[in-house]
Symmetry: D2
Subunit: 260 residues, 4 copies
């Protein structure tokens, strides 16, 4: 069996210095636990609630930062792509192209990522039953790329709340692809923070442990050196000490179940 | 008070002949009830569940068809836009640019439509509380276009089901914009049709009546001369006789409430 | 077709004077609109959130009050029953025995009400699909009483919120029984009021209009001379002027649809 | 820290022989894993969907069976109580009185169980936010019995489906009481089985593991020697071999987290 894959990083690229500093700590975190790791960050927050919120450094500057991260740390990188034309330039630099949850039904985007990414991570839409993700997997395969994994990040539960259905992790795995659990976006409270998305950081740990016990192949967590000052998703991000404790518990659970 | 605006047409453009034939019948339908009307159709179904489903005629052919519709019938036209770059060419031909529900949080798309459309219709995401749509309205205004309306098309209710929250129509109106009710997409059953989206046509009429009674400014319905052979959304589309009866009831309700 | 049946009254019996005063106004309200009417009130709020909340006058005192109401006003009366043994004494006084929504699956209670009531109103559980109410209807019939109607009062929508699915009114009617819409409990926000249930009175009117347009046989509303001082369910109760306006709109809609 | 408490047994008492046979196997199961255990069974299924379904042996015969179980096996017993008057006779025989989920808001029932039970287990209503269960705890304490624990068994998720919100386990624990996870009722599909409640037994194991990892004090599972012939809840019950494997994993997870 494969060891757990860690996907971690700040929500958004704020600067090269910030990215490098975070990437080095992500690398240390993974090394401490003996895990393969991918550094994640967004160059553009294309679906912020409010037009006034920080969007990110943009595509060109973002790719330059990812090149620096790869050169300085050797880490594989993942970023999310919002329009089909972005897949080609992103695919030249980063290793995994990610389709955002709201966009998981956009056929052209999924297929463009499949054509230009080494691997594709499709986040499950908050509006979709787990088994419906079979279509996203099929779209990637039709585009010639079988190297796809799926990420759970919560399902709509009334207004302004998400619930993680642990049955869904098993249902996603039945689609024949690795399954990742996004522990930090799953605790978002959309709309609860006024003009920004709220979050309940205190539930990242129990949800990550629960998902590990239910069965996952990868764990996705947004980490920030100082979540209180993060330019996006602070309320649901962990600091590195918190991420370290979550990982320790997750790995203890996996070992108890005969996994790595 | 304004009369009800009717937005009607087939789900997808299948050919020029089909579009013209449907547009003429949509025009007749509106004239029979004395309503202002916009012809709606999609040039591309960019988020079909299955990669094997019919996508549409494409942007270029689609715009040529809309030009023919406008020339032959004089109808105003609406189409949905899936990527920001499409807003400019579409805005040169059609009168209303529509942001699909899954894409209602994509800032660049909303703003591109606002910049290039005479009016913008933003569909409320199935994953959003009604009041969260204030951000979409604000994004349009920031882009310089106050001519925006919002469309309700159901909210996620567990897996594979949508529910229309009639309170939401009032909440959308409190945002200070006209509110449209999409009676045919609201009866979709996502995933219930195997590899296509299912639908319960029999609930279009009661939901349209209910929404009219709760309070709306526009009514959106997909109509098809033969829903059984429609290339998209057949299970939730109405034929013209059904649409006529729905409209008659909706208008009787509006008159009873002192509206037109 | 039958005229609309009005079911109205205060949430809870507070005293004989309060009951008589409210019953007279309920009678006037119905007479003004030419409607058959049933006076509703509870002798016991058996499922208050908090143990500290007012429970009501109790069974014995409550039945004495209902006798006074019937004698003084001639109104038919409805009350809710919480345990099977209460059905017999209640059935000797009131005309309709009501099964509360949380208790709609309790076989003995449903059947006891059927055996001892002239008619039975089973409220649909917030946790049940409309069609599942067929079992409650069948239980009443098995107990020998086909005189049953069903009441919609909202379905669970995440935590602390209810949504009215207007499709459900049609689905309940397909069970072959009259269908009532409870417009005031449908706007409750369970848990939103701290230790009491909150409510959004402003949505009673649009929901009542919507339900009337979708199709109902009876309308249930809690009315209070002064909702702000009501001992239960004040936040979602209407005063008599508000109830009058809701009824006027509801009846205008029904007439527009060829109903009474 | 306390060891995990196991609550296990068949859904319904079918006969003394069946109860004794199941109780002995439950005792063995717990002993094999070194766990304290309570034998659970119902004397009456008071809320079966269909009036035609098996109800159980009844109160009197049921209590005689529990006496036999206690005498023959020494096990502590738990049963669910449906009306307040049943609390006293049940409390004379069984050790834990359980309030069913649909009835968790019935004040008299909760308080009667508190007065007559050594301990009370209140199941969280499918319609309630976890934190709302504070009222049930307070009602027990007001009745003089602080020995109460709460059980999660899923929350309404649209129609005909339940979802377990793992955040809720932490929220229930914050109320200061032990928290139990009911792994078998949580996989029910209400209404999916035609006239009986359906269930997805295959998700008992991942949900039980997930709940153990999130954090629980007790685990509730319905076990049957032959679920296919069980007179109630067969589709979601485990056989003893399955229950044994679930427990082994659950306990491995607990040990990995420093628990017993």
């Amino acid at each position: 069996r494969q060891p757990l894959l860690l996907v971690a990083g700040p929500c958004v690229l704020e600067s090269e210095a910030q990215a490098l500093s975070h990437a080095r700590r992500v690398k240390e975190l993974a090394a401490r636990h003996g895990l393969p790791v991918i550094f994640k960050a967004s160059f553009d927050k294309a679906n912020r609630s409010s037009v006034a919120s920080f969007r990110g450094v943009g595509l060109e500057a973002g790719l330059a930062i990812f090149e620096a991260v790869k050169r300085e740390t050797g880490l594989a990188c993942l970023t999310d792509v919002h329009e089909p034309w972005q897949a080609e330039p992103c695919g030249k630099v980063v290793d995994v192209l990610q389709v955002p949850a709201f966009l998981c039904r956009q056929t052209d985007l999924v297929m463009a990522c499949a054509r230009h990414g080494r691997a594709v991570n499709v986040k499950k839409g908050q509006f979709l039953a787990p088994r419906e993700m079979r279509h996203a997997v099929r779209k990637c395969r039709e585009a010639g790329n079988p190297n796809v994994f799926l990420t759970e990040r919560g399902a709509c539960f009334g207004y302004g709340n998400l619930v993680v259905d642990m049955r869904g992790l098993a249902q996603l795995r039945e689609l024949g692809v690795p399954v990742c659990f996004d522990a930090t976006h799953s605790v978002q409270l959309p709309g609860a923070g006024g003009d920004v998305t709220g979050g309940e950081r205190q539930y990242v740990a129990p949800l990550a442990r629960a998902a590990a016990a239910a069965g996952i192949d990868a764990l996705f967590m947004e980490v920030h050196e100082d979540p209180a000052t993060a330019k996006s998703d602070g309320p649901n991000s962990l600091d590195f000490a918190q991420a370290d404790r979550v990982l320790a518990d997750v790995l203890a659970i996996r070992r108890a179940l005969g996994q790595r």
